[in-house]
Amino acid sequence: MTEIDARIERAVRALARRTGRRAFLARLGALLTGAAGLPLLPVARSAAESPRAPGPDENIPGKPGDPTDCDYWRHCAMDGFACACCGGSASTCPPGAEKSPVGWVGSCHNPADGKDYIISYNDCCGKGWCGRCGCNRNEGERPDYHWVRNNDINWCVSAKSLVYHCSVAIVVGQATEPQPER
């Protein structure tokens, strides 16, 4: 583990010891941003944000593609049912399902503008299996111990209910490096 990781981990641990889980997640973002100039991480964002703030993740030039399709560019590390087939969209949970505060990430190539983007995959939870548009792609996917890139884990572990419904693929930002496979 690098020195910066270790420093973050110590700080996070200290914070976590003193606070409840939801509050902890909400403050995690601030800590990380302030402490080390890190970007707001997907783990923090889900919990910290107002639930209705508009998102920019569709503001990418070129053809958007079909988020119900497993070949959709954002799905390069997808595993699960695409929420766009379940009453949600590429980036929003279907009605009544809760987005997992923690998810996994991938780095996917958008053919529309030729750029790579970091994708935050989150599971939508609290309803049973959607059962539509199942998709499994594993570009850059890594085993459970490298969980930030693991799509096997049911990330509803971090939500109110472990019950898995479907998964969304949200654009977090542009990647300056492609994913490890390339």
Partner: protein, 409 residues
């Protein structure tokens, strides 16, 4: 507090990610937005799946799923969600065991907001709701959307009444020897009895009920029973027997009045072995008085067999006015899995050319341009037909694995 002590691993991992992948963040964070179901449309249908244990709400015009409501894990089939449009709520008759398949049992009505599909409340029932292959007539909303009735099987047949305004269970009405709930008013429901009659349960203002009347016997429960898949026609319910006779019972007055039965088949059709059959095998378009019946050719004992045709009757005139041929459901479902383009020329042709594997169930919307939804209980595809012409308009794809029931929203 100890539990709270983390996401440490995640945070550390995310830190590592940033270094490994070189994320260049955009200025704005991505936002979790809440998806809502748009206000009512005329062509929406709930499709219940017994393997996924939920009901999915499809828009019949676009073929899109708008949302889903879970059923219990412990039953053989989820009961259809019941939508109180005026109150903006959806109800699901649920139950759960403390340890999944064992432990303490709790029966309850789950209350959902009909826009967000999130749980807004529940009513715990002291009774044990019944469960069956289709569970047709096992849960119903009475007129006026105040009372919800659930059917209990054991240790005796009864109906439980829930007051949805007060969100309380109000009473259990014993209906020994009878089964099913067929709403006929704000505080009245009918049930079918093993002695060949229909009984009426009446509730008082507080939701306490009693069996108030029985019709005269109008069917033989052994020789030619009527199926549970009756259809409502105003103050009347229409039930059809295994042998293809339609029985209309009018509940407008205190004692139900039974009209003379009429036959869905001519003598020639009978000798040609045409029969009714399926599961949710009848549908009614009230305004046009059209009765839709799934039919097949078979022998006695085939009353649950799927049928390749839908015969359409004028209820007022007691005569058949249309015959619709059904598509091939398995071709609709499976062909795309063999590389045949969904909705493409070959896909459509396969569904049309192959003799239909038959439908078990159908429902029809009640608007002026009605859609007929037709399914085979073992195939995850629902055919959408123009209910006036029988034209196969589209297919609701990837509509689950297995299940018999549907409900117009």
């Amino acid at each position: 507090m100890r539990r709270a002590a983390a996401a440490i691993g995640s945070a550390a991992a995310f830190g590592a990610l940033w270094l490994v992948c070189g994320v260049a963040p955009t200025g704005e964070p991505p936002a979790p937005r809440i998806t809502e179901v748009a206000p009512d449309g005329p062509h929406r249908v709930w499709v219940t799946d017994r393997i996924w244990r939920h009901s999915a709400l499809f828009d019949g015009d676009t073929g899109q799923v708008l949302g889903m409501i879970d059923g219990p894990d412990a039953t053989v089939t989820p009961k259809l969600p019941l939508h109180a449009h005026r109150r903006g709520e959806i109800y699901s008759a649920d139950l759960a065991y403390a340890r999944g398949d064992r432990g303490e049992r709790t029966d309850f009505i789950t209350i959902y907001d009909d826009r967000t599909l999130s749980v807004t409340g529940e009513v715990v029932l002291p009774t044990r709701t019944g469960d069956a292959n289709t569970s047709i007539g096992y849960a119903a909303l009475l007129d006026g959307e105040r009372f919800l009735a659930t059917f209990n099987l054991f240790p005796f047949a009864s109906v439980s009444i829930t007051d949805l305004e007060k969100r309380i269970f109000t009473s259990e009405v014993i209906i020994t020897g009878c089964a099913g709930i067929f709403p006929i008013g704000e505080r009245r429901l009918a049930t079918l009895c093993g002695d060949g009659t229909a009984a009426v349960v009446e509730l008082d203002e507080a939701g306490h009920g009693r069996v108030a009347a029985h019709s005269a016997p109008f069917f033989d429960p052994v020789a030619d029973p009527v199926t549970m898949a009756g259809v409502r026609w105003g103050s009347r319910w229409v039930f059809v027997s295994f042998e293809g006779f339609a029985h209309e019972v009018d509940f407008a007055s205190g004692v139900p009045v039974v009209a003379p039965a009429w036959s869905l088949f001519s003598d020639a059709e009978r000798s040609d072995h045409w029969r009714v059959g399926g599961l949710q095998h009848l549908a009614l378009h009230a305004a046009s008085q059209r009765l839709y019946s799934i039919v097949h050719r078979g022998e006695r004992g085939s009353h649950k067999a799927p049928g390749p045709e839908v015969w359409v009757y004028d209820l007022a005139q007691h005569r058949r006015v249309e015959r619709f041929a059904l598509p091939h459901f398995m071709a609709a479902y499976a062909a795309p899995q063999f590389g045949i383009a969904r909705g493409g020329w070959l896909h459509r042709m396969l569904q049309r050319w192959l003799p239909s594997d038959g439908a078990h169930s159908l429902v029809v919307t009640q608007d002026d341009a009605p859609l007929l939804f037709v399914r085979n209980a073992e195939v995850g595809a629902v055919a959408v037909l123009d209910a006036r012409s029988g034209e196969h308009l589209r297919t609701l794809d990837d509509a689950g694995i297995a299940g018999a029931t549907m409900g117009v929203d």
